[in-house]
Symmetry: C2
Subunit: 406 residues, 2 copies
């Protein structure tokens, strides 16, 4: 008997017909003798509707209130899914974030999980009930509702799988698995059978929306095998797992792009120690996540330009903080470019192969794509480019690294 | 400085425009130096949508899951309303049923309030925050979400007003107050300035939908003055309060009808002691509320007919139980008539006036309305009639008791 956590995203539960279809899938897994825990997202469109409502009321919604608002959709789905499973003759029980015991910090709208108090869900499994967990949410020590950020239901699923030492965590979505790049951009894109946690982590953080990055971190940390697969068919999907020998033979695994990026530059900051610290501490205090950071030496060596990227939504907030820091430090000024995208190549094989970066830069250059910022890690190289050139860049990189071939 | 609880129903908060309009009303009350607590319902249509979803999945939704589902709408409104109040520059904070400390029993979908642990809301008021409470919901001792039944947000408002010893509980709706009867049926119906708790209680239980009966019971028990008024204008509404001398001069205060009734009859039950107990205990165990009960002696004195009414929705459930009891007791059989309505007259003055019942029966008789069941209390007389004759009955009774005149 295996313990399997199955997470179903918004399109998989978009209406009651789909909820019933998913319930069939759940009980057929249970009927094979497995213990199943279901984690659900809000019905597709619900969360956007809530965001729209909030936007009609205020430009600056209070984050505690946003969390109460946003967490409602998952509760609705969990109640309906539980009913659908019960209707098929199986015992089932819904769990809110609170009831499943997900205790988080108080960073509303992007809370981090502190611990999971899983007694109640364990008891339900022991009683042969199929627990249906409202994803995306927890509570803080004040007993206020928190949410884990967009895509947080993936994190809920993996965190529960880790806490309960599940054998497998299946992430059901509307695509067949993880592709070498977005098939809507490159029709030759190929579905991968397997990808390492680290590669998936990079792909996720680089804008491949199929999995939420934090869920992969969790899976890696607790060694939870994940499968990304479609709730619309029986295709086996993509296994996300520990790195193995095979994987290193492939230099580049995938190409990702992220158009949800804004670049902010503080120009001619007087070049003295502690400047970066001052800037990024202020930005962290404003609860803004910084992605790439590049600092260039200026021509006269007395001042420096600092550029960084944030998500488009957080651009204005980050710009405001950057402006204040700029004034304080006596810099020349601040500008923001929201029309940028990040294009990245990922692969564990990069660690043992030379010249990958050079191939990337040369390819982009030949295609006439201007590189604004570069950032590298052991298994990925990212370039910030003009948003209009981003898809061209993805196509050329997919071709040059021969990703359409197995 | 007064403490005022304001409850806004679904049509008052049906979209974000209305939510903003209500927020203006709330802060204008606060600006006059009052402490205001807001209680909100789900946006109009939301609860019905959830019920529809559940109905698409199962004919017998689990009640624990129904409560999780149904409680979501109020949470959404409370978050949005809090944002709208904050946007006007006032401190505000949302409270779920749990956070406001409404502890109920475990009768899911129609829970009773055990107690209110109001420390947190008291602290918020002390900090000059305007609390916005999600109505209709509480939690039981297991920490599961419960709901208080349709219209339960009124109960939430009065219960909080009672727990915090508020000076006034305002129930905002889309009508101007309590009318002598439904103005859609009788255009001459008159808005009352004042009505006693007991009269209001009867009117509510008899189908005047403007207030939830339980909320009036609560208000009476804890002597909370309530005002029913419109959120669309500044009309002063109807005060629901303790009986006073003036009231007794009016014999009949109002006429109510309730079409949400089904009559069930068990025919020829062997007439021995304990039969009614057996029947109604079984029905109570099925969590069905019985309204009127009439037992007739049969012609041969060896068997009796027992009739009772329940809400239309609970009819099938009650019929099933009645059928079992009928078999057990050796009765002849059971039938149900869902096409009935209850027409009632209400007034504290009845206690000191003779002949009111006679006038009622005579009026119905002259109008050709057949009376199927009769039930009386100190301040009301109810008749079950054919649903098709119900509006005629209301019109004639409104006329004969001269209710259009002040």
């Amino acid at each position: 008997m295996k313990l399997i956590v199955q997470k179903y995203g918004g399109t998989s539960v978009k209406d009651t017909e789909r909820i019933k279809a998913v319930a069939e899938r759940v009980v057929s897994c249970a009927a094979k003798g497995n213990n199943v825990i279901v984690v659900v997202s809000a019905m597709a469109g619900e969360t956007d509707k809530f965001v729209k409502f909030a936007g009609e009321i205020t430009d600056n919604p209070n984050e505690r209130e946003m969390d109460l608002l946003l967490s409602s959709g998952e509760r609705v789905t969990s109640a309906l899914m539980t009913m659908a499973i019960q209707e098929l003759g199986y015992e089932s029980m819904s769990f809110t974030g609170r009831q499943v015991g997900i205790i988080t910090d108080s960073s509303h709208t992007k809370a981090m999980i502190d611990r999971i108090e899983a007694d109640r869900i364990k008891a339900a499994i022991k009683e042969n009930k199929i627990p249906v967990v409202a994803g995306f949410q927890g509570i803080n020590e004040l007993s206020d509702v928190t949410t884990l950020g967009r895509g947080g239901s993936d994190t809920t699923a993996v965190a529960i799988a880790a806490a309960l030492k599940a054998d497998l965590c299946e992430i059901y979505t509307d695509v067949d698995g993880v592709y070498t790049t977005d098939p809507r951009v490159v029709p030759e894109a190929r579905k991968m059978d397997k990808i390492s946690y680290d590669e998936m982590l990079e792909m996720a953080s680089l804008g491949a929306k199929v999995l939420h990055g934090r869920s992969v971190e969790f899976a890696k940390k607790f060694n939870v095998p994940m499968v990304v697969r479609s709730s619309y068919n029986d295709s086996p999907g993509t296994l996300v797992t520990k790195e193995d020998g095979d994987m290193e033979n492939i230099v580049v695994t995938g190409v990702a792009q992220d158009k949800n990026q804004a670049r902010i530059t503080i120009m001619r900051v007087p070049d003295r120690p502690g400047i970066a610290a001052t800037l990024f501490e202020s930005i962290a205090e404003a609860n803004v996540n910084v992605d790439m950071i590049v600092q260039n030496i200026s021509s006269d060596d007395k001042a420096t330009d600092i550029s960084f990227t944030v998500s488009t939504a957080e651009g204005p907030k980050a710009l405001e903080v950057a402006q204040k820091v700029s004034d304080k430090l006596g810099a020349q000024g601040v500008n923001m470019n929201p029309e940028v995208a990040k294009v990245s190549i990922v692969g564990v094989g990069m660690q043992s192969h030379f010249g990958v970066a050079a191939t990337m830069f040369e390819t982009l250059s030949k295609a006439g794509v201007n590189i604004m910022m570069i950032s590298t890690s052991e298994i990925k190289i990212s370039c910030v480019v003009d948003m209009n050139q981003s898809e061209l860049a993805v196509k050329e990189l997919h071709k040059v690294f021969d990703l359409a071939k197995q």
